[in-house]
Amino acid sequence: MNDPVAYAVTAYALVAALYAGWHLWREAPFSNGLFYVVSVLELLLIALLISGSIALGRTDRDVDGVLFISYLVTTLVIPPAAILWGVAEKSRWGSGVVVVAMLTVAVLVVRVLGIWQGAYV
């Protein structure tokens, strides 16, 4: 797994957080636009899990595989949860839930990169 890929996904999650934050600011509830943005993030995270798993199989480096994969799997759960919860809340805070979720994904992906580089052993 190379660094630019992880940073790109993190950047995307942060942009999604800003987009959701803009909804929150305008007192707008969860929208179709947010749905698509969050869905694309889910696709990116699935790609990250697949490429990460392949990279883990090939590398000679001392990576904590269980921790690495469990972090990647955890990130997959968050966008669908954000959508379900965001849709259920009719007020602006439906968007607030998405802000929280997107920031969480960004932090998790940075941690995944850290685990890959052996920073948290």
């Binding site: 007192e27 007020s91 607030g96 839930v97 802000v99 929280v100 979720a101």
Partner: protein, 133 residues
């Protein structure tokens, strides 16, 4: 604002929904961390890992209480969380030897952007705020 911060509502409605989401993240983070620590290296730092497990359980129960509008339970668990983050924060400053490995509450939650320190205050404020008629 009066609509979203309305009084007398459920602790899980409006802003509460976002708050429950944050609690859910910490419930997940603290529990997952503790399961990993206990499974992989329980003997390295028993005090820290036991504490991680306790913190995980407290966050899970607090999330459940806020999501289902159980105020008494919410205040009890959030209060415990406040005491925990302050107590462990002081202990890690005074005696670092006690916690050779980090927990969510070490150094007042610095490893998690001090969110664990701020969260109980927000939680208690929210329970109080929604209870006014």
């Amino acid at each position: 604002m009066s609509e979203t911060f309305r009084s007398g509502g459920s602790t899980s409605a409006g802003f509460g929904r976002a708050l429950v989401a944050i609690y859910a993240v910490f419930a997940l983070a603290a529990s997952a961390r503790s399961i990993y620590q206990l499974a992989a290296k329980a003997s390295d730092a028993p005090v820290a890992y036991t504490l991680s497990a306790v913190a995980g359980i407290v966050y899970v129960v607090a999330t459940y209480a806020l999501a289902t509008d159980r105020r008494g339970l919410a205040v009890a668990t959030i209060g415990f969380e406040l005491v925990g983050v302050l107590g462990v924060g002081v202990l890690t400053l005074v005696d670092g030897e006690l916690f050779p490995d980090a927990t969510v509450w070490s150094d007042f939650g610095a490893g998690y952007g001090f969110v664990p320190l701020v969260l109980p205050f927000v939680g208690l404020w929210w329970v109080r705020r929604t209870s006014r008629a």
